[in-house]
Symmetry: C2
Subunit: 334 residues, 2 copies
């Protein structure tokens, strides 16, 4: 360990955010910028992780790390700013699989992580060390140190996530999702240790990530669902569906294929009794009454984040909303 | 396999060259440019190979591949032209060992090779495929598909090659060299198969490489020494020592430390009865009589290669020299 990450225990964190990749990473960055150093812990989906060309790749952890470190490429929307693709060109010349774009800067992290994993380090240790080394002053955790993989049942067969999402560009029609490994998976070691010591956060934020691909893998782990059901703090989610569209990725397409209306309402219903509060976009203000009809607190906010000012504003408003729920000691819905 | 490499059997080769990295690669490139496609087979030292950050790295095979493919960086003297170092910067930021410079273009080859080796491919298959994919129309082979490692006994302890050469910049004083694995190592599979079919080359060239670090690992393999001692064709070496200096690397320093005169004479004596002919530089013309006193044919040539014209000229002259030895059926010295 580098020391800088391990020297600050997770128990310093007051806010815990659950996040997928790019979309969730934006709010995570805003929360990180808004809160004092080490007051935020971001838990990342690892259902998308995969082995590729002998490298262990963690797309969501990396997206969040890059976003929080200020290293993300804003224009491209994924990967690192100033990225180059020279190794990829060599790999292509050699006839290697080239459907997953590996930037040179990104590749350094994959090579390092793969060697650390082979050397026996846990993903929690590696995620914390990478974040600290790249300048992040917040806690970054995988959803588990155990292997959980998102798999999609589609009209093209049952597919691994990256095969579906990157290689096949999310074209196959999805009928169900599976999270093999989830039932056996444990909480990440630093969280388990903090909980064993009686720690709990003041607020839990579910970032505007794809519910099926990014948050459900976390919720599919019984230890996570148990804890989130019992935890004594408000849980607030931000809708990734705005105006009937997904801002990023394939959440809307998947929602339709799974037989649901493409709407923030579907997201709220999906998380159900887990939530104390739900944030929808101003474009969806008309849905507030319907979503809140069974007692769920709803807040209407501008949720589309173009720059750090947007991210900071949303982060502040979400934290304020969660604070109001805690202050008013709402009837717990779960 | 890509097919292009495997479709031309080694038995098409007429000239076999033994080479280390950068220095030998220059003559190998000249030979490749001079001979018809697939008439040259270059056997590379693999004693320098090592595992680093989980990657399997073959410096000499890569240097020769890049040189023959016209991808080498002439100005820097090693690695690929147009190289960038972005992955290395990430690795350094993450606190990874940074004493071995990994270029982004180069890294693509290491990632690919590591995965192919883990998948069960032999180094012969990988070397041939990489060369063919990168545009080389000559045979490229490792000295063995088995693991042989060069180790140096020094005043700083017994060191692995890369530790001595790169990490410690060849500073420790060398008292002996070891080649663990050599005694058990076999000929590379394509060569063993060709020999089993009765093939032999017309000429064998020992490139101007470090005798101790680049050629001795090959000669330390009993199957290689046996074959080279029996083979029915001229063996010609080109001195890597010119005017009492090594053109590249640490051959001169090592020669001194091992108690020898830094001279082309020492190189000729080192290879001894294995050689039919020996090429020295015009700067060393005065040594010709002394080196040839026990019947070794000596040719004085300009051996310093600055560009492809120099490489081609030396290659042609060396082949002509070897041809003259074959034509005159010299009394075999071995």
């Amino acid at each position: 360990m580098s020391g800088s990450a391990s020297s600050v225990p997770l128990t310093e964190a007051r806010v815990l955010a659950l996040s997928g990749g790019v979309g969730g990473a934006k709010l995570a960055r805003g929360l990180g910028r808004t809160l004092p150093d080490w007051h935020l812990a971001v838990v990342c989906n690892t259902g998308d992780d995969f082995s590729h060309l002998g490298l262990e790749i963690c797309p969501d952890l990396d997206s969040v790390t890059y976003a929080m470190a200020g290293l993300a490429d804003a224009a491209r929307g994924w990967g690192r700013a100033g990225e180059t693709w020279q190794a990829m060109e060599t790999l292509r010349a050699l006839g290697a699989a080239d459907w997953f774009a590996l930037g040179d800067r990104d590749l350094g992290l994959h090579v390092w992580r793969t060697e650390r994993l082979r050397g026996g380090a846990t993903l929690s240790e590696i995620a914390a060390e990478a974040a600290a080394r790249l300048g992040v002053s917040q806690h970054l955790l995988p959803m588990s140190d155990d292997v959980v993989r998102t798999r999609l049942v589609t009209d093209a067969g049952t597919l691994d996530f990256q095969d579906y999402f990157v290689r096949r560009r999310a074209v196959p029609v999805v009928s169900a999702l599976q999270y093999p490994g989830a039932v056996e998976a444990r909480l990440p070691a630093p969280l388990a240790a903090a909980l064993a010591g009686g720690w709990h956060p003041d607020t839990i934020v579910i970032c505007p990530s794809n519910p099926y691909l990014s948050i459900d893998p976390i919720l599919a782990i019984p230890a996570w669902r148990d804890w989130l059901t019992r935890v004594d703090c408000p849980i607030v989610a931000v809708s990734p569906i705005v105006g009937g569209r997904a801002l990023k990725g394939c959440a809307a397409k998947m929602m339709l294929e799974l037989g649901h209306e493409v709407s923030a309402t579907t997201v709220a219903r999906h998380y159900g009794a887990l939530l104390d509060g739900f944030v929808i976009d101003t474009a969806d203000a008309a849905l507030a009454g319907r979503i809140g009809c069974d007692g769920l607190a709803v807040r209407v906010l501008p949720t589309v984040m173009y720059d750090d000012a947007d991210r900071d504003a949303l982060a502040r408003a979400v934290l304020e909303f969660a604070g109001s729920l805690a202050a008013h000691a709402p009837a717990r819905r779960r």
